[in-house]
Symmetry: C2
Subunit: 312 residues, 2 copies
């Protein structure tokens, strides 16, 4: 083991820090999970250093996924509303100085996409688009085995694709954004409105709404819930079709908590994409569930570390 190459993957969330030592084949060898030290940047950096040293003093590189963007020209972190202490921090450089190994940082959705493209549901594909459906809607695009970050690191801003011209305003300044409509709050808002229109004649009456309950009711045959699921699939279909027509992507990987609805949702998304894409482009694209679950973040971060170390 002392001879084998290992890499560290850190996945910083708004609440928890996940960390793992990962081998060159993508296997998690050892892992940690603890609350994020979000008091100030110094405390967070110290925590990251401690966790990293505890996991792998001999690791050849360290990668970090975080809930925001990394400007690829400056390395500075931006747009981290859920972990404001990281705003303006040149995270990879700071960590690299502390750990003495090549270090890379990127958006968490990008890290997850890289993991799925490397060892998960997108394995073997030249181009992979991964969508994470949860509270928000995140995405990462992997071309030729590398995260495509765009000019400044903002590529893959899938959550703010405008899919509903008459949709509700979004915090980003636009309206009808994918995240506003099919993030968890979007499911709940649309279901609440549909329930009201139905005058209570639905299994959703009196229920505390969340995507899981809505999907359950739809599976059980409730027409109001089914219409909410179908609209979600259609809105996701618009966005995915857009990405496919633009990029002729080989695999679309769908993960995140809402994707736990499984084939019931995935099959509907596939059909909505089919209706909106070129036949050849649709035939070339597989739309599949994510395979790595909660490990995607740390495994993808470790892959970033391998790439930073020149080993991939």
């Amino acid at each position: 083991m002392a001879d084998a190459a290992h890499y560290l993957g850190l996945d910083i969330g708004g609440t928890f820090l996940k960390a793992a030592r990962v081998d060159a084949g993508g296997q998690v060898v050892e892992r940690r999970r603890e609350p994020v030290a979000s008091g100030d940047a110094g405390a967070l950096l110290a925590q990251l250093e401690t966790v990293a040293r505890g996991l792998g003093g001999a690791a050849r590189g360290c990668g970090v996924g975080l809930p925001g963007f990394v400007d690829r020209r400056t390395g500075v972190v931006h747009g981290v509303p859920n972990l404001r202490v990281l705003e303006g921090v040149a995270l990879a450089r700071e960590l690299s100085e502390r750990l003495g190994v090549p270090t890379a940082a990127d958006n968490d959705a990008n890290a997850a996409a890289l993991a799925e493209a490397w060892q998960g549901a997108g394995r073997g594909a030249e181009s992979v688009l991964m969508l994470t459906l949860g509270t928000g809607v995140g995405a990462g695009l992997v071309l030729g085995g590398r995260v495509y970050t765009g000019r400044s690191g903002y590529a893959g801003e899938f959550g703010h694709l405008q899919v509903k011209p008459d949709g509700v305003p979004c915090g980003c300044g636009s309206w009808g954004c994918l995240e506003t409509e099919v993030g968890v709050a979007g499911w709940v808002r649309r279901a609440a409105a549909a329930r009201e229109r139905a005058g209570g004649r639905t299994a959703l009456a009196g229920v505390e709404l969340d995507p899981e309950r809505i999907v359950e009711a739809a599976k059980a045959g409730d027409a109001v819930a089914l219409a909410v699921v179908d609209e979600s699939a259609a809105l996701l279909g618009v966005a995915i079709a857009f990405a496919l027509d633009l990029l002729n992507v080989e695999k679309v990987v769908i993960g995140g908590g809402v994707a736990a609805a499984g084939e019931f949702l995935l099959g509907r998304i596939r059909e909505q994409v089919r209706r909106r894409t070129f036949p050849q482009i649709f035939a070339d694209a597989e739309i599949v569930p994510a395979a790595l679950g909660g490990d995607a973040g740390v495994v993808g971060a470790a892959r970033l570390a391998m790439q930073a170390a020149g080993a991939a």
Copy 2:
């Protein structure tokens, strides 16, 4: 001159064949233009060979742009409704055998995008999206100096992005496609409907409609025409914003006959994109008019030749 490297660029349209000998700096040294021999594939290949030999027996490579797709796995041409004789032809391989030099073929919108990225309005940018607004709506995506073709060669199918959920059916099987709405026929259809709604109270009354006339009337202050221009800009804005949010592209180059409307249209497109994109992504992207005009096709094809010859 005998020592300098030259490359051939062929731009096959539905009606005319344009050809040029281009130097390694992208300058057109010599050019030809003649009707396409569209009788059968053999006649067309013979014409391409004759034109190529006439222009540059000593050229180091030959590139071809064509009004369809080239499957990047097989090299076979598909989807050429305006020049059906090319359907199923492995064009680059056939020409390479006849000419004895490395040869490449790609979609004409991709070739034009490559030219603009190399020597035109996108020069110096790492990522360039070029839109050609004409009878159809074409696009090409150039990343790191190379055309991004996607899995099978269909990337950049911008014309069939669904921008109007309640739009009219498109020949592709979907509906509300960008091309159906803002291709020349889309401008005319929307303007005719607006004129009828206005009961003739518009400068468009009794006029044979085309985008140029509609823009002229809008510039002169006609409210009905202005609304048609504004809707065109909004629909283009939806699609461009989508591409920017997904790819964080550095330059968006807009060319084609309809783009001759200039800043009057371009400024409106820019504003519609601004309303729909992340501020950082919008700030990073320049939306500019094409610079190479009618030469883009042959210059881009010559650049494909340079890349096929390993010289770029």
